[in-house]
Symmetry: C2
Subunit: 375 residues, 2 copies
């Protein structure tokens, strides 16, 4: 890490386990992030249904913004005019932006990818756009996020070895172009490691990016349909070769059990739409497993969502009230459910950080394994 770098990372404790898990502190221009950290997804400049104050109350210290969505709407120019995404969305804490690569390859009506960039059609109005590594970096600088990501090609989980090799070479070339284009002393640029489910390709690609000396490394191309076993194996492989002193970000993961397993393999940061998406489907995480609040039984249930939870929803509202809001189609239901799920995930992260220091992470994994089976 360069001494004047916008983002710095410090490992605070590795605990008595001598495994790869570590408790750390990631310092950014907009605040400090205790790691391992879970980052809620604020796709369109808002974590759905939450005011910035409520987002803060979930215990989230950093949130994500999506370059693809914000570039298309409202456009990076208007966000730059506000002074950046922090000011635009009224969130004073750290923000990480993805590069738009994953979105373009997975969500958008893809038109053509070549070595220079990607042509695609907007999901909003079908208009034609072209993203390049240089443009992705320029947009992210306009957004002013604390951490920007390299523009990468993210192949599907079942891609062939030869397809992975082609996209890896392209991702490495694009990472180099992102580095050249990036010019900010207030934003860190992280590299993204691809390589599919091939151990040797993951090692090869990690080494290519390590040579470029990024201040942090993301693991891309997982959580795209692979098995849990494949994902854990790749994380095991990478845990041995990624530079220990730099933060590691597993993109798009995951369920509570996936989060614990990733932390055991040295991952420091994660993001996932599960807590917010499940909230929109009225599914909540609790210490008893997942509950779907649409079920009739909750209409007369006076208990809170989770009596172990310290969030304001569980302090003030019963399952019956939330069930009523859902059936009456009241907007407040979404706010409450989203808040609760994010609070559940952030409470898990606090437990994880404590467990690393205590050496009790294995017990936490066992508990989450049992809960996941229950779900």
């Amino acid at each position: 890490m360069k001494p004047d770098a916008p983002v710095s990372f410090e490992i605070v404790s590795k605990g008595p386990d001598a495994g790869h898990a570590r408790v750390g502190v990631l310092k950014t221009p907009h605040g400090i992030i205790p790691t391992p950290a879970f980052m809620p997804v604020g796709t369109q400049g808002t974590v759905k249904g939450l005011t910035p104050e409520l987002l803060r109350q979930t215990g989230s210290s950093i949130c994500l913004g999506n370059t693809y969505h914000l570039y298309l709407r409202p456009g990076s120019d208007i966000i730059r005019l506000h002074g950046g995404l922090h000011e635009f969305m009224g969130w004073p804490g750290p923000i990480l932006t993805d590069s738009g690569g994953f979105q373009v390859f997975s969500l958008a009506n893809l038109r053509k990818v070549d070595d220079e960039g990607v042509d695609f059609r907007s999901h909003i109005d079908g208009s034609l756009h072209r993203l390049t590594p240089e443009l992705s970096v320029a947009i992210q600088q306009a957004l002013g996020s604390d951490i920007a990501m390299c523009f990468d090609e993210c192949p599907p989980a079942d891609a062939s070895r030869s397809a992975i090799l082609i996209s890896m070479a392209r991702t490495t070339a694009w990472a180099d172009r992102c580095l050249q284009a990036h010019d900010s002393d207030k934003q860190a640029l992280f590299g993204i490691i691809q390589g599919g489910l091939f151990d040797d390709l993951r090692i090869q690609h990690a080494n290519e990016l390590i040579d470029m000396d990024f201040p942090g490394y993301a693991i891309g191309g997982l959580s795209v349909g692979e098995t849990q076993g494949d994902r854990v194996r790749i994380l095991d492989v990478l845990s041995e070769i990624l530079p220990v002193e730099k933060p590691r970000y597993l993109m798009g993961v995951g369920r509570p059990i996936d989060i614990v397993e990733a932390v055991e393999r040295g991952v420091d940061m994660m993001d996932c739409v599960l807590p917010t998406r499940n909230a929109r489907m009225s599914t909540v995480y609790t210490g008893e497993g997942r509950l779907n609040l649409r079920n009739t039984q909750y209409r007369s249930d006076l208990l809170p969502l989770d009596d172990r939870c310290d969030g304001f929803c569980c302090q003030h509202f019963s399952r019956a009230y939330i069930s009523h809001l859902i059936h009456a189609k009241e907007l407040l239901a979404h706010t409450i459910l989203t808040f609760h799920n994010l609070r559940h995930f952030q409470r898990l992260m606090t437990e994880i950080r404590t467990a690393i220091v205590d050496g009790s992470l294995a017990q936490l994994r066992t508990r989450e394994e049992k809960l996941e089976k229950k779900r």
Copy 2:
């Protein structure tokens, strides 16, 4: 007012104008309400899109619950099991419940009204129900509101004199039955004055209810399509005969100018869906008049909704951001717009209370008249 009454009212200032306007304090089991007060409508046990904490931050000291809606869903039994509507919806402050009368006569699929009560069909599932004065009081006692309302018949604005006479007689008889049925030392029961747009009938009905010695009087049957002139004339008539020492509640009113005009005629409490309904249509109240945030011009407008507003929305968000949320169909838009409009109304109420003391209420009316024309 009986000394052991659950609700008491005290006039704090009548100001130098010697008009009917007065600043007061209404004390209830769940807190104190500075009057004149605007009461946001929380139809289904929530003020749409706002957490109780956000509702408190709008400056609202009391909110409304709708007996008709809550009786049909989730049902008063489940709310009673929670300990009442305060506990159910997590709102610790005062609550006023309407009687269901207005809703049944205006919203519901009406089946039959007789002297005993009203048969109607639920707007939710078409099921058949019967509301009587006794049942309305029993439901409101189960809800545990601080102020309950008598079950009344609310005729349309264009009802004939003979129709008004019939419904007046029925409303008086029902008021008497409500009084007999009401049995709570934690809830006040207010009477509702009908009489249409006939000055003499309003006087007659007011006197019938005054004889029953209610702790507060509501003016019903206005804001149902009458002209502003008719409404103001009726308020003038009633201002002369309603007991000065008791709180007066004008139901369903209204626009800011209507609120000021009512206060000038001695009204202490009002409720209206305008601020919350307009928010759902992206229309906001500002010191420059009403704005519709859907208009294209706001997509690049860096100003807050209202630079005179102290609400957190105007402190943190630009019109461009809110416009973005609206176009991106983000739930947070509803929360922000609802909060802002209620904050606008509560700031107006603070201005009104100050203006009564200052003797500057006429200037406030002139300002709101100009703003209303602008709108």
